[in-house]
């Protein structure tokens, strides 16, 4: 045993709760220097909990709430784009000055798209995805009682919560929320005169993001330490499930890149409030010549995208890990090319730091520098391609069980193919001259990063829900949810490629001022209609999620998916500490499905005499 805290757990050391819980004991928090009373109050159990499983659920539920808000914002701006001539008096009733005459105003439109991006990229697909599954699965799958530091882990959630509260408050200030796009490029975001959203809303945005970054760092530190130091006996790095590899690399990316965003945000705060000129030079606005001289708005873009590009991999790597795990389990086959899957994850993680300036080909940067980023960007397509081919080969000759999680995983692969390939267009700077900041870009990143990451997240929720809550989600609703989401996402985002190839710029409130762009009214109406249906299907999922926590079908077997990994060796409703007895020892890799005529062999089963090991 390499973890001293393991010995602490004593099952049944406190009065039995209503649940079938075991080992619900916080003695191993002792390394925080606290000695809690045995019986946990509601507050320590559900609010300020240090149990990684509870924290994971907190991240998930918070992420769901933010996803509903972010999705609702997209429905609102799709109303404007789809039905520009129609007045919705109800909007005026609800939104007041932001929607005069039943139309949302251009300022409010910009706030909606900005917050839609910020919320979904950071609060949902970073905190909601990584926060949920890294927290939930790392200790359970590596065989640890909890995170390396449960206390920091709790702080990580509460910093995220505070970031959310502050972002929420910014919706209600009189000048509105930030409206400079989720990338908040200065000078637009730096100058209070440049737009309404650059007034107090932007201060809130920066403060909220600073707290969010702290949360991400605290979480990431814990994930890395736990994976590296707290694996159970026998769990070598070469026996880790691909989920854990993905979470580990995600955390490393976050740890190395988020501080840069914090730096960028701090300098922006200085420019906004202290009269510095990091990002400002030669500006005449609102009848004033600003005294700021010598800064560079492009500097911000470099700092932002130094985080921003790893960020898209922070979003997609956990989804890749989850999908690899779910595909193998439900194909009843090993993941194809385990070693190649790890190496390609490593390659993607490394290269993700070397491609950021492909967002900036047309900022006037030196063309030579641009060419280096073209090379790096197209190189990253190779490990991505390997992953796709390996996922598809994992299905080949399998015995596929189509649980909702499996459906979403296949959906993920399809989306990742579609969205990944358009990246090859955008990453080539010469083509980017045409496609830069058009709807082609919108289509690309929504499919490859937004929808695909959501598919991975849903796969994870459906697959591990029985472990989280001891009950199942309703399958029928799961299938409806999948098909509406999957088909709907294609119907929404695929046609946006066509709009991009017609030259339509992003972030336009209306296209009617341009002869060249004003030809997609019926398509926009169609997209908006589908978007509303897809949004409704997500609400169906949310109802299913909360209903099933209390009323779902109970899980009655320890290992319902017949999976090999350690989390299914815990009790149906594991207590704090995860295993009532000793932590099991690991003897084999996590993908022994269909080996030697057996459906699956758990990681805990010792290797047999003469059994072949084939990997690493």
């Amino acid at each position: 045993m390499d973890n001293p805290s393991m010995q602490h757990t004593q099952p049944g050391a406190h009065p039995a709760t209503a649940h079938e819980e075991h080992g619900d004991h916080n003695g191993h928090n002792g390394h925080n220097g606290h000695d809690h009373e045995h019986k946990q109050s509601f507050i320590t159990k559900y609010i300020f909990s240090q149990d990684h499983k509870t924290i994971a659920k907190q991240f998930l539920v918070t992420g769901i709430i933010w996803a509903i808000i972010g999705g609702l914002f997209s429905v609102l701006f799709r109303l404007q784009l789809g039905y520009p001539d129609q007045s919705f008096p109800i909007l005026t009733d609800i939104l007041g000055k932001w929607a005069p005459d039943g139309h949302i105003s251009p300022d409010f439109y910009n706030m909606l798209i900005t917050m839609h991006g910020t919320i979904l990229v950071f609060f949902v697909l970073t905190a909601g995805l990584s926060g949920t599954f890294s927290n939930f699965l790392i200790p359970l799958q590596v065989g640890a009682r909890d995170m390396a530091s449960p206390f920091l882990n709790m702080l990580s959630y509460w910093f995220f919560f505070m970031a959310g509260v502050i972002m929420m408050i910014s919706f209600f200030v009189s000048t509105g929320a930030a409206s400079g796009g989720w990338t908040v490029y200065p000078p637009l975001s730096a100058l209070r005169d440049a737009s309404m959203g650059s007034e107090r809303g932007m201060d809130y945005w920066l403060f909220a993001m600073a707290l969010f970054i702290i949360s991400a760092l605290l979480g990431g530190l814990n994930y890395i330490t736990t994976v590296l130091n707290m694996r159970t006996k026998g769990m070598s790095m070469a026996k880790l499930p691909l989920t854990i590899w993905a979470f580990l690399l995600t955390a490393i990316l976050g740890l190395l890149s988020f501080p840069v965003l914090l730096g960028a945000a701090l300098l922006l705060i200085f420019d906004r409030n202290l009269g510095t000129s990091f990002y400002l030079n030669d500006i005449y606005i609102n009848g004033q010549h600003l005294s700021n001289v010598g800064g560079s708005p492009i500097l911000f873009q470099h700092l932002f995208w130094f985080l921003g590009h790893p960020e898209v991999y922070i979003v997609i790597l956990p989804a890749m890990g989850i999908v690899s795990e779910v595909l193998a389990t439900n194909a009843r086959k090993p993941i194809f090319g385990y070693k190649a899957m790890i190496l390609s994850l490593l390659a993607i993680a490394l290269l993700s730091f070397l491609v950021w300036a492909h967002h900036m080909f047309l900022t006037g940067m030196n063309p030579f520098v641009g060419s280096i980023f073209v090379l790096m960007t197209l190189v990253i397509a190779v490990p991505s391609a390997i992953k796709v081919f390996n996922w598809i080969t994992t299905l080949w000759q399998g015995n596929l069980r189509f649980t909702p999680a499996m459906m979403f995983s296949i959906g993920f692969v399809s989306m990742f193919i579609s969205g990944g390939l358009t990246g090859i267009f955008l990453g080539n700077s010469a083509l980017d001259i045409e496609l830069h900041d058009t709807y082609f870009v919108v289509a690309h990143f929504h499919i490859v990063m937004g929808v695909a990451a959501f598919m991975g997240m849903f796969a994870g929720v459906y697959h591990w829900y029985p472990k989280m809550f001891g009950r199942y989600l309703n399958n029928t609703i799961g299938y409806i949810h999948f098909w509406v989401t999957f088909v709907g996402a294609y119907l929404i985002f695929w046609p946006m490629h066509y709009m991009g190839l017609a030259g339509l710029p992003r972030r336009y409130y209306s296209h009617s001022a341009f002869v060249s762009f004003n030809q997609f009214a019926s398509l926009n109406e169609f997209i908006s209609g589908v978007a509303m249906v897809v949004f409704a299907a997500q609400l169906l999922f949310v109802i299913n999620f909360f209903y099933s926590i209390w009323q779902g079908r109970k899980v009655r077997e320890l290992n319902p998916w017949h999976s090999t990994t350690l989390e299914w060796t815990t009790p149906i409703r594991p207590g704090h500490g995860n295993w009532p007895g000793e932590i099991p020892e690991v003897h084999r890799w996590p993908y022994d499905y269909g080996k030697d005529g057996r459906d699956f062999i758990p990681q805990t089963e010792p290797m047999h005499e003469g059994e072949s090991t084939h990997h690493i």
């Binding site: 737009s195 190649a340 047309l362 193919i417 045409e434 609400l539």
Partner: protein
């Protein structure tokens, strides 16, 4: 009222779906299933196959409908290179797209769960994996070589005979400035900008006196154009989709883009069959609430049309400044600025054109 009706309808649909879902769950419990529902597997696998087939039919159908609405043939020399590069990239990615999507959904259909069938234990095949690492790497190398070659060509210095045009982005419109007969743009400084003198022209510089500031942009067909791009307040982006051009306009950091338009507006009207066709300059970088309305009309003229247009233009100084109180203000401001600069004994911040 209608909102209430819609809400009620949505709630009713939800309730119906929910009840049906519960019933199907109870029946599966009665049949004694947990976790995995085998009947669903068959049904789900067929759904994937149907999705694949209908998806490809819709894809082809939508291309037939929407290709005519996409950008017409590129109206510039480099734009045609970009178009052919786009087609090459589309060819290779198209093959991968079709092959991978078919394999994915075909396997999902073909290998759906059947009782008694065993999945193949097939953890790795190094040969196969090397092949599908090397082939994409080769294709990517090809695309990089073509792309970077064209990129350097497009980004190369403008030819000496290029017509220089200065474009300034501001919230929320574009300002263009042409050098006059002397072929030189006059000096300017952001400190000289005011309500009238929108780009801060320095009227102590004789080169400024004949500069034109028309309301539309006119280009001469087949003559290289060099855009000097700048912004006054926030970042904008010069978007000229028919010419395959995007280039950011960054405050304090001028950028450039040169190209050769080769299809006149009249010819493009014939090509597109649209008598209202219009080249337009759009802003492609979010710049505030009027972002979506930041437009300037662009005309590609035949030599005769261009000469006629040029003859009708009067210099900005002659038409707007000369003899007005603004003239004194502007000149005094410029002199004051030069005085300050001399005093500070630092290199002039005047932009040399």
């Amino acid at each position: 009222m209608s909102a209430t009706l819609v809400t009620v309808a949505i709630v009713l649909v939800f309730i119906v779906i929910f009840q049906l879902a519960k019933i199907s769950e109870y029946t599966s419990i009665l049949k004694g299933k947990e976790g995995v529902d085998e009947e669903n597997d068959k049904y789900a696998s067929w759904m994937f196959l149907i999705f694949l087939i209908i998806g490809f039919i819709l894809l082809i159908g939508s291309l037939v409908v929407y290709i005519p609405k996409m950008l017409p043939v590129a109206a510039s020399v480099h734009g045609k290179w970009i178009d052919s590069m786009f087609n090459v990239t589309l060819f290779f990615t198209g093959i991968v797209f079709v092959a991978c999507q078919i394999a994915l959904f075909y396997f999902a259909w073909k290998y759906s769960h059947k009782k008694g069938r065993k999945a193949l234990y097939y953890p790795e095949n190094n040969k196969l994996e090397i092949w599908w690492t090397v082939i994409p790497a080769i294709v990517m190398t090809g695309l990089v070589i073509v792309g970077v070659y064209r990129w350097f060509e497009i980004m190369s210095p403008a030819p000496a005979n290029a017509q220089v045009i200065e474009i300034t982005g501001k919230q929320f419109n574009w300002i263009v400035r042409y050098p006059g007969a002397d072929g030189k743009l006059g000096a300017h400084d952001f400190k000289l900008i005011d309500e009238t003198n929108q780009v801060g022209m320095d009227f102590t510089d004789p080169n400024s006196k004949d500069d034109l500031m028309p309301t539309d942009m006119h280009l001469l067909v087949n003559k290289p154009v060099m855009l000097k791009i700048q912004a006054r307040d926030v970042i904008h982006d010069v978007g000229l989709p028919q010419f395959r051009i995007h280039m950011d306009a960054v405050p304090g950091i001028p950028t450039t883009f040169w190209f050769t338009p080769d299809i006149t507006t009249d010819e493009m009207k014939k090509i597109t069959g649209n008598k209202d066709f219009q080249y337009e300059l759009a802003c492609d970088q979010l710049c505030g609430k009027g972002h979506f309305s930041m437009k300037m009309n662009v005309y590609v003229d035949s030599p005769e049309e261009y000469a006629k247009w040029l003859a009708s233009q009067k210099s900005f100084y002659e038409s707007t400044i000369k003899g007005t109180p603004e003239e004194q203000n502007a000149i005094q401001a410029a002199q004051k600025l030069h005085g300050e600069e001399a005093q500070e004994k630092k290199p002039t911040e005047k932009k040399e054109i």
